[in-house]
Symmetry: C2
Subunit: 251 residues, 2 copies
């Protein structure tokens, strides 16, 4: 039985201020929760699940879940879930300790200049994971990675990509050795980044694109060739095409 | 001054049943509304806007808007908007007359097998528009293109791409001459579609992928090469990479 205080606490983690203070975040749904436990990047603090879900677990999964598990009823799950149709299991994890970003040398790094839509950030993290990108550098105004909608749309990739928030200008200036490509509407065709082993790829805000100051740090502007009437592409779509292209190695 | 009945009517268009019966849909926000008027594909029935927005219009825009315009107050806009922060203008358009799909010969056609997320469909329509894809064929269980969230995320591309709903199997069987590629997790590298002038590209449902019956109609399965840990890609991201690839012509 979940106490009123517990319910209030879990609900309060929907707010960034509380997540920041508690250094915690919430993940929901069997797939996301099990995979986050599996990657082991985020320490689990507690896990609330329906009996019907627990009874379906394989022995090794049950062993992983057991230390944090509290079995709850449907009506309790509904209270702590942020979905309209609650999804079997809700877990609270500790946030990762904030460390220095990894060096961008000899690798591909994605840079996000003020991505605001949580669905976009989540999709970008998931796509970066697919393409084996070790790190995403986000401007300080980019949406928080522990936002519940971000966590949901990463589909558990959150534990496999290092997402780092910083002031972009000094970081870009510090990475002298790595060529920097900014996705804009009036650059050279993106094909120029094909197969590069070291590159920094910069994606801008959904409405305003890349800020002038950040753009000034780029070595080249690159553009996804257009054939129709749309004025622009969705930020997650642009990021995906850049990542596909940079991983597209020709003989 | 908006009548109570008018407010109720506009609100009721949030429901598919009402949209179907009225053959109408709602678009919101200056950019979407002005561009939809501009493409001329959907007949405007009425347009409700703030004085502050109308006063900013250029003469030719004002002329376009005038026949449908009713100036309303902030508190009225809030009542008819589906956004939490209402966006200056709301318009009601007629749906397009349903016609037969265009032939898929000598062109690239996108096929969607039960895409359920409105944001995904909207993003796919916008991306198809960017790449100059004339037509998207949707299974009958794909989310409706006049869903407000679809309309919003197309960013006005809705008027430039023919979105057709039909039973996929007979349609695929009828297009004998065009090679059909299904995006799956275990196919040949997507590079095989580079630069093709005629192709049917099939994208599956967010959770279940492409149904067995539809898959049986494909000539080839193609896969976006993976380098990391993510199990799958977002449907709109997959569609975008396929469209970029098919438009990527090499010398």
């Amino acid at each position: 039985m979940l106490s009123k205080n517990n319910i209030k606490y879990i609900q309060s983690l929907q707010h960034k201020k509380v997540r920041d203070a508690e250094l915690a975040f919430v993940a929901e749904g069997p797939k996301t929760v099990v995979e986050l436990l599996h990657t082991g990047v985020f320490a689990c603090r507690s896990l609330y699940a329906l009996e019907s879900w627990v009874s379906k677990l394989e022995p090794n999964q049950l062993k992983m879940v057991q230390p944090y598990l509290e079995v709850i009823k449907d009506f309790e799950l509904e209270k702590i879930s942020s979905y309209t149709s609650a999804n079997e299991v809700v877990a609270i994890f500790s946030q990762q300790e904030v460390t220095s970003p990894l060096s961008a040398e000899n690798t591909v790094t994605l840079v996000l200049d003020d991505i605001r839509d949580p669905g976009n950030l989540g999709t970008i993290i998931r796509t970066a994971d697919w393409f084996g990108i070790p790190q995403i550098i986000c401007s300080n105004h980019t949406v928080e990675r522990y936002n519940p909608k971000v966590v949901q749309s990463t589909m558990a990739s959150l534990g496999r990509v290092n997402v780092h928030y910083t002031s972009l200008i000094p970081w870009l200036k510090s990475e002298i050795a790595v060529p920097k490509f900014a996705a804009t509407l009036h650059g050279k065709p993106v094909a120029m980044i094909e197969g590069r082993e070291a590159a920094i790829l910069i994606i801008g805000n959904e409405s305003n694109g890349i800020s002038m100051e950040v753009l000034a740090e780029a070595d080249e502007q690159i553009t996804i060739p257009a054939f129709g009437g749309a004025e622009s592409l969705n930020a997650a779509v642009s990021a995906a095409i850049l990542l596909y292209t940079v991983r597209n190695k020709r003989n």
